[in-house]
Amino acid sequence: MISCTEFIPAYSELFKFLEQKGDKPAVISFWEHLSDSFLNNLRDLAAQKGLAGCFEYWSHTLSEEAADFKMTFDEENQVFSIEMRKCPSKGRLLERKDIKPYHAYCEHCDLLYRRVLEPLGFEYNIDLSDCDKASCKLVIKRK
């Protein structure tokens, strides 16, 4: 086994490997597969509890990943947001000077979660313009 703390570099390497095999479409196909098969916990929570389910899901995962973030759920206006000040995954990749992260690493977050939430009736927006600083902003609204 490799430790779960060593997974992110292996994940980035997987995207590179897939791109070597079949260019970017091969990477996207894997992301679609992972979203459909691996994110059932987010899918179930969002379907059952709406944006409160999103809050519950990311409270757990981002805490276990030791992220630096501010998460907000405005119940009245049905808006959920994550201000990611330091993404634990991208941050660790950038810290490793011996590793070059996959060039579109952060795009997997956009595809994986959008694919779960939009079919459930949520509007999903992510700003990745600062992802080279391991920062991003996610806003999810009830349509």
Partner: protein
């Protein structure tokens, strides 16, 4: 009238320990996907790439310090993830007898996908690390039970 709430959760990196064991599940899905889409040889190729490209600090330490570097690395992992393993160094060989693989224990206890091919991670990542540092290794496992015996030795030494 029910009061609508504003919920806020704010955390710094130092507030929590970095230990997201569900990543083991994501790796299981990756192995299954590669096996089904590109074949088992491609999966082995990918896992060796992980060993070569992402464990370069461990490869350098193994070259410089020898087997103590591997022992230190694996002891840290098993302690961090609450696994059980016995470490022995004899006749210039490091033997790790794993009685509880923490990754498999987590996947099974949480009902996540588990593929019998998961242990090929150990086989191929170890192999790539050892090849890069001019060491040799073996890993004997029975799929799914979370136990294995890993051995490491220098190329010119007798196993």
């Amino acid at each position: 009238m029910v009061e609508k709430k504003l919920k806020v959760l704010e955390r710094n990196s130092s507030d929590n320990q970095y230990l997201h064991k569900d990543f083991h599940g994501a790796l299981c899905y990756a192995i299954k996907y590669l096996d089904q889409t590109y074949g088992q040889d491609a999966t082995a190729e990918y896992l060796k790439q992980v060993g070569r490209e992402t464990f370069s600090p461990l490869i350098a330490a193994l070259k410089k310090e020898g087997l103590i570097a591997l022992e230190r690395h694996f002891k840290r992992i098993f302690e961090l993830e609450n696994g059980d393993a016995e470490f022995k160094r004899e006749d210039n060989c490091l033997v790790i007898n794993v009685s509880k693989c923490p990754a498999i224990a987590h996947l099974k206890s949480t009902g996540q996908l588990f593929t019998d091919r998961y242990c090929e991670t150990t086989v191929n990542v170890n192999l790539a690390i050892c090849q890069a540092a001019e060491y040799q290794c073996s890993c004997e496992y029975k799929p799914g039970i979370g136990k294995c015996v890993q051995k490491f030795w220098k190329k010119e030494d007798i196993k």
